[in-house]
């Protein structure tokens, strides 16, 4: 069949806004997801003069979300300075949420269904939703359904002291019971990722981000919030030597390499990105930093299939590259989310590995290596911290600005791993 596809339009990235990210139970301990997302939307609105305006759609989400926040994004829009007639919906794809939200908005723009949209994400690990245990929940439901006093007493009599301890949300996989870090420790060991290279990558992330702050790179990407002007996880004076002194927290024995220094901490924060058609941006006199060219998701069977929990981006990448006729080397910037330093390193190693690329990815030749000097040049999650759903928006806005500064025709690649064995990758082009 002849290829009749018309050249489709791609969504422009106009700009972004985020609040500085804060380590759990620090500056944002009293702020809710809705407080943070609303403040972030308002900052974006102020930056681009959208007060009282209706945008096509606002798409955002949170990974740790209370059930009363079922309409978190719409509620945040109603509390923001955007027009109350702006539609919104929530998405959740673990750490992929923010990038997936941007892809959803970009796709609707590409299809002509909307002319503008905001993609975002927010997470708090401080104001986290506690749930009552399943046993107590069942008792409370039967209590609520009881018609007579006798039935109510019978229901109440089923409560045991142990049930009163709430379920804390944990950063662990429901099907394996392993923390994400424990999963990644297995992957790191399989790929032979050393302690030293992890600590070096972590130190470089801090240095790159500190330098970016110092030269004002984040001035039009970050709005101070609750007294915080920079990410408070950022350690400009971090060194590989200092990081080498930390004790491993994931993995066991001799082979354990993952520490609190080369793993991201629990973090609170929010981000948002403004996307639009070129026409809409031009009509408003707003800049176009880059376009979101394409994206791809993948998932791996980390439960029974023997693949690493965070290796899905490795699978998504060749599919997207092939569709766009590109090689892994055809990019000016690489943004690989640093869930753990070893995630970045095992992903890069997998793409260089002929056996993995042949057996797992079905490729004739490995994707090959990348120029490391183009990787996370303004720092990534190890420095900024990682409020799960907010990371995608942080990366998209920063990369779009980098590409714009580098000039037209530059390409950037995003790779984000997510809980549940999923991954999202995307291409941006200026």
């Amino acid at each position: 069949m002849a290829d009749t596809a018309k050249p489709r339009r791609t969504a422009a990235i106009v700009g972004g806004n985020r609040i500085p990210f804060a380590r759990s139970n620090s500056a944002y301990a009293q702020a809710s997801n809705q407080d943070m997302l609303t403040a972030t939307l308002d900052g974006l609105v102020a930056r681009f003069g959208l007060q009282g305006e209706q945008v096509g759609e606002v798409v955002a989400g949170a990974v740790l979300k209370h059930s009363r926040d079922f309409n978190l994004t719409r509620e945040s829009v109603l509390g923001s300075t955007l027009a109350a007639t702006t539609p919104a919906y929530d998405v959740q794809q673990a750490c992929g949420t923010g990038l997936e939200a941007a892809v959803l908005v970009a796709n609707k723009i590409a299809l002509g269904q909307i002319e503008s949209g905001i993609a975002g994400g927010v997470d708090t690990t401080s104001d986290a939703p506690l749930a009552v245990g399943d046993d107590l929940r069942r008792v409370l439901i039967s209590l609520n359904n009881a018609r007579t006093m006798g039935d109510r007493l019978k229901a109440l009599a089923k409560i045991r002291p142990g049930q009163l301890v709430p379920d804390m949300p944990r950063n662990s996989e429901p099907r394996t019971g392993l923390a994400m870090g424990d999963h990644q420790a297995i992957t790191a060991e399989e790929w032979g990722i050393g302690r030293e290279e992890q600590d070096e990558l972590a130190a470089r992330s801090h240095h790159n981000m500190a330098a970016a702050y110092d030269r004002g790179f984040f001035d039009d990407l970050v709005t101070p919030f609750l007294g915080l002007a920079r990410d408070n996880n950022l350690r400009p004076d971090s060194t590989a030597e200092k990081l080498a002194k930390l004790k491993p927290v994931f993995g066991r024995g001799e082979g354990a390499t993952m520490t609190a220094g080369n793993s991201t901490p629990l973090t609170d924060g929010a981000s948002a990105v403004l996307l639009a058609s070129d026409e809409w941006a031009a009509a408003k006199g707003l800049p176009v930093l880059a376009h979101l060219v394409d994206a791809q998701t993948a998932a791996v069977d980390y439960v029974h299939g023997g693949e690493g929990l965070l290796m899905a981006p490795a699978y998504a990448m060749p599919v997207m590259l092939a569709r766009n006729g590109l090689t892994l080397q055809d990019f000016d910037f690489y943004e690989i989310h640093e869930a753990f330093a070893s995630t970045v390193l095992s992903t890069l190693k997998a793409w260089e590995d002929p056996a993995f690329c042949k057996d797992k990815l079905g490729l004739d030749a490995p994707l090959g290596s990348i120029d490391r000097s183009k990787l996370n040049v303004n720092g990534s999650s190890l420095a900024a911290g990682h409020p799960f759903a907010a990371t995608g928006g942080r990366i998209v806005a920063s990369l779009a600005k980098m590409l714009h500064e580098a000039g037209p025709g530059k390409r950037g690649l995003i790779s984000i791993c997510a809980a549940g064995g999923q991954g999202v990758v995307a291409i941006l082009e200026s």
């Binding site: 009293q30 702020a31 809710s32 407080d35 609303t38 403040a39 308002d42 109603l78 509390g79 923001s80 300075t81 101070p224 919030f225 609750l226 007294g227």
Partner: protein, 288 residues
């Protein structure tokens, strides 16, 4: 005029105790005293608690009603002082007008000052205005006027007529229904320090002549602000009349109407339609 500068906030519970003990009020004219605090910084945890209890957004900007948290204790100190002519117990808050002259950031130290003025004649007694102002580095950014009614009290000869009415347009369509719980008074008292017994429980309210505990007027005012907080100009006047007590618990309707230059608002009982609060919010075009 004499200005007394205090180092810290007066203890409101102690002031209420003093008010209950010293009883009846001295009569005569209003004192000329101003009470002030300089360089007051906002405690963000308190701001967060205030935002939560009033359902206001928690950001770096103070809600227009928040500086009242800083000025009300000073006003109470003034009202319970023996120089104040009216008995504090039994004073009814009937009107509050706040003018926000510009947005105030939570990290700006505030100089606050309060005084009493406008002793006025009212058909059922006398009213007095407790005024307050807040400034940042010499620039006035906020002011407030709380009118209190003392039933049965006598204004001095030649006093002006009381001015307690706020007029709003027809507001027929409720925008929201609020279930105001039994403990709404206790919850706001915990944050604001306003432990007036009429708000705390049915029993303590009965002792002061109310059939049930009543909600704090300034809490209702702040909650209404929360409903329109993101649809306001930078500088505005927010004027409300507390018409009838909001007994706890209650279900009430908030009605809002957009008018030229701002909003008209009303809070009414969902069943009886009794009006608890009516108010206007209007853009302030220029600073006075």
């Amino acid at each position: 005029m004499a200005t007394t500068v205090l180092d810290g906030p007066p203890n409101l519970a102690a002031l209420y105790a003093r008010a209950a003990l010293t009883g009846r009020g001295r009569g005569g004219d209003l004192p000329d005293t101003h009470l002030a605090r300089r360089g007051v910084t906002v405690d963000r945890d308190h701001l967060a608690a205030y935002a939560r209890v009033c359902r206001l957004p928690f950001t770096d900007v103070l809600p227009a009603t928040y500086p009242h948290m800083l000025t009300f204790p000073l006003q109470m100190a003034l009202m319970t002082d023996r120089a104040f002519p009216l008995a504090t117990v039994g004073l009814v808050h009937v009107r509050n007008r706040i003018e926000l002259l510009r947005g105030i950031r939570a990290d700006e130290p505030l100089d606050v000052e309060v005084w009493a003025e406008r002793f006025a004649a009212h058909r059922s007694g006398a009213t007095v205005d407790l005024c307050a102002t807040a400034a940042v580095a010499g620039e006035e950014v906020w002011r407030s006027r709380s009118t209190y009614l003392a039933r049965g009290a006598q204004a001095p000869a030649g006093a002006p007529e009381a001015d307690v009415e706020v007029v709003v347009g027809a507001l027929e369509r409720p925008a929201a229904t609020w279930r105001v719980p039994d403990d709404a008074g206790r919850r706001y008292a915990k944050v604001s320090g306003d432990v007036n017994p009429i708000h705390l429980s049915g029993l303590t309210a009965k002792a002061l002549g109310f059939k049930r505990a009543i909600a704090h007027g300034m809490w209702v005012k702040a909650r209404v602000l929360g409903a329109v907080a993101n649809r306001l100009p930078e500088a505005f006047a927010y004027d409300v009349q507390f018409t009838k007590p909001l007994f706890l618990p209650s279900t009430v309707h908030l009605a809002t109407g957009q008018v030229d230059g701002g909003w008209d608002v009303a809070v009414r009982n969902a069943g009886s339609g009794t009006e608890h609060v009516v108010g206007t919010i209007r853009t302030l075009e220029e600073k006075h």
